[in-house]
Amino acid sequence: MSPLLSVRDLRVRFRTMGPLKALATGVRQPFIDAVCGVSFELRKGETLGLVGESGSGKSTVARAIMGLRPPTSGSIAFEGQEITGLSPAERKLYLRRMAMMFQDPIGSLSPRLTVRSLLMEPFHIHGMKDRDAATEADRLLGLVGLPADFGRRYPHQLSGGQARRVGVARALALDPNLIVADEPTAGLDVSVQGEVLNLLARLQDQLGIAILIITHNLNVVRHITDRMAIMYLGRFVEVGPTEHIFRQPRHPYTEALLSANPEPDPDAVIDRIEIKGEVPSLLKRPSGCEFHTRCRYAREMCAKVFPEPSQSGSDPAHSFKCHFPLEGRWQRAERSLVSPTV
């Protein structure tokens, strides 16, 4: 079966200054590569997690797929059809079948529209009549478990969790095959976060939607994704089945991220790995392996040679870019993943 979404060598380049200023200041490359050769596939009904810190380019990947940022090069195929470089009219056709959820639950809702009109938006855009759109809006409210009288509220009168439900409802409006969710639980309390994720999971089971979830929250990734990809400076450094990666991370950056993911247990947190320094600027990419400046296992070779992707022996679907991949099971991951009954 061909994948629902196939991204090949995606690059997104941003200008850092205008051409005149670049000329005046003598900057040869007034660009940064926010996304730098990313490839992945997503199948029907599958959930893929994109994990990375701010500046890793994970949100840019999402925006490129939705057509909000034109890719500099590479290809994005959706349902077998190339979707880069389409005209607005052509894009509108495929936007019916994919939907995006944005980070800010309240800020991604048009502030002067009621919840009801917000839910009618997708139908209006795609040319449905007012009456039918209203019926659909009421159906959606019920689907995400909001009472009907919420239709009269404005976004600022909603709590984060409620606004997030409206966002989910809108994403589902046109029966999409793919939902791109950019930090769907950002700004939500833990007690509400579960509600939103469960809602997504339930709808995925019912409707067979594929989900691309972008998040920095590894706890969320562990429970709801099938596969995950770890991004650093616009590249995938490790990608594979979620359980594999949690059980045996091969890239030191993945290990550091897993370790930085604090477990609410006063006795479990003592062995956290602290990685040095901050994410380097995209303007000055480190040579060789781009993580070597912060890597605690870095050797001489790492600063010189860019690591090509290699496969994990046990599972060819698990690949990583590291000269000296980690061996052995990850301690904390093992303890938290393997339940006593297994």
């Binding site: 019916r96 939907a99 944005f102 980070q103 800020g107 048009s110 855009i125 809108r170």
Partner: protein, 297 residues
């Protein structure tokens, strides 16, 4: 942080009351706002009903009393030609409002349009339009008015034209800045992701967010325009006699101020009252709709 919590609770409490009701309740809390609203309503009503209110034909030159003080027959006295000042003041209100609404209405429309184009269009167009706005704005209004009057001759149209052209850049800039900020907001991106066209985004999502602050600006500009119109007429560059006009009344009164002060008072009071009315109302609107603006201005 604590404000956020308090505000959210407050917002949730308010959710079932209508917008108009909540607006009126808030306006009711601002005594100057109420005063402003009353003055503005009174002024508009007077202008609309002017023909029913006036006691004499405002342009009829009477042979009898000239520069007469107020009396039961002539509520504000008469001018140097024996015309009834009260009737002229009342009819003059129509001119003032006509100029204000015609000029601000057209500059609002053009400013909104250009501002949206600059805010949502390509970068080069934005830069070009900004250059145009700044060029027009750097022209002193009076010099510009003199040039227009020299070209088109002194008339009501010239005044409206001058005001409209000089205020377009101000409104366009405000709209442009707001539109520019909204362009990259998540809710606009969300609409794009659903396939909404730029036109739809502008009309349904950007316009309603831009129009509020703009209307506040416009309402606070009304008195400026009325005084500008009066000023131009005072200088003889506005409406032609014998059309009744506040500026013209002032101008006449100025010439005879050593004989009677009534003309100047009669011409000045409506300008002051209108200015205060629109300013109070505009400030109240601003405080209600845009608390952020209050801090900035």
């Amino acid at each position: 942080m604590e404000d956020v919590e308090a505000i959210r609770t407050a917002a949730q409490d308010r959710h079932d009351t209508g917008r108009l009701a909540s607006f009126l309740r808030q306006l009711g809390k601002d005594p100057l706002g109420i005063l402003g609203a009353i003055l503005v309503v009174a002024m508009v009503a007077t202008a609309l009903l002017a023909p029913l209110i006036i006691t004499h034909d405002p342009t009829r030159i009477m042979v009898g009393p000239r520069l007469a003080p107020p009396s039961l027959d002539f509520l504000m006295g008469t001018d140097q030609l024996g015309r009834d000042t009260f009737s002229r003041v009342i009819m003059g209100g129509r001119i003032a409002l006509l100029v204000a609404f015609a000029s601000l209405g057209s500059s609002l429309t053009v400013g909104l349009l250009l501002g949206l184009i600059a805010g949502f269009g390509p970068r080069w167009l934005d830069s070009f339009l900004l250059l145009v706005f700044d060029t027009v704005r750097s022209f002193p209004v009076i010099i510009f008015a003199l040039a227009i009057v020299a070209l088109l001759g002194p008339s009501l149209t010239s005044v409206i034209f001058v005001v409209a052209v000089t205020s377009v850049p101000i409104y366009a800039r405000v709209v442009r800045t707001q539109a520019h900020a909204l362009r990259n907001s998540e809710f606009v991106e969300a609409e794009r992701c659903m396939g909404a066209s730029t036109l739809r985004i502008l009309a349904v999502h950007v316009l309603p967010n831009v129009i509020g602050p703009l209307l506040i600006l416009v309402s606070m500009d009304v008195p400026l325009v009325i005084t500008l119109e009066a000023g131009l007429s005072f200088l003889g560059m506005g409406v032609r006699p014998p059309t009744p006009d506040w500026g013209a009344i002032l101008s006449d009164g100025y010439g005879y101020i050593h004989k009677t002060a009534w003309l100047v008072i009669a011409g000045g009071i409506p300008i002051v009252v209108t200015t205060l009315g629109f300013t109070f109302l505009g400030e109240a609107l601003r405080d209600i709709f845009d608390p952020k603006l209050r801090k900035d201005l």
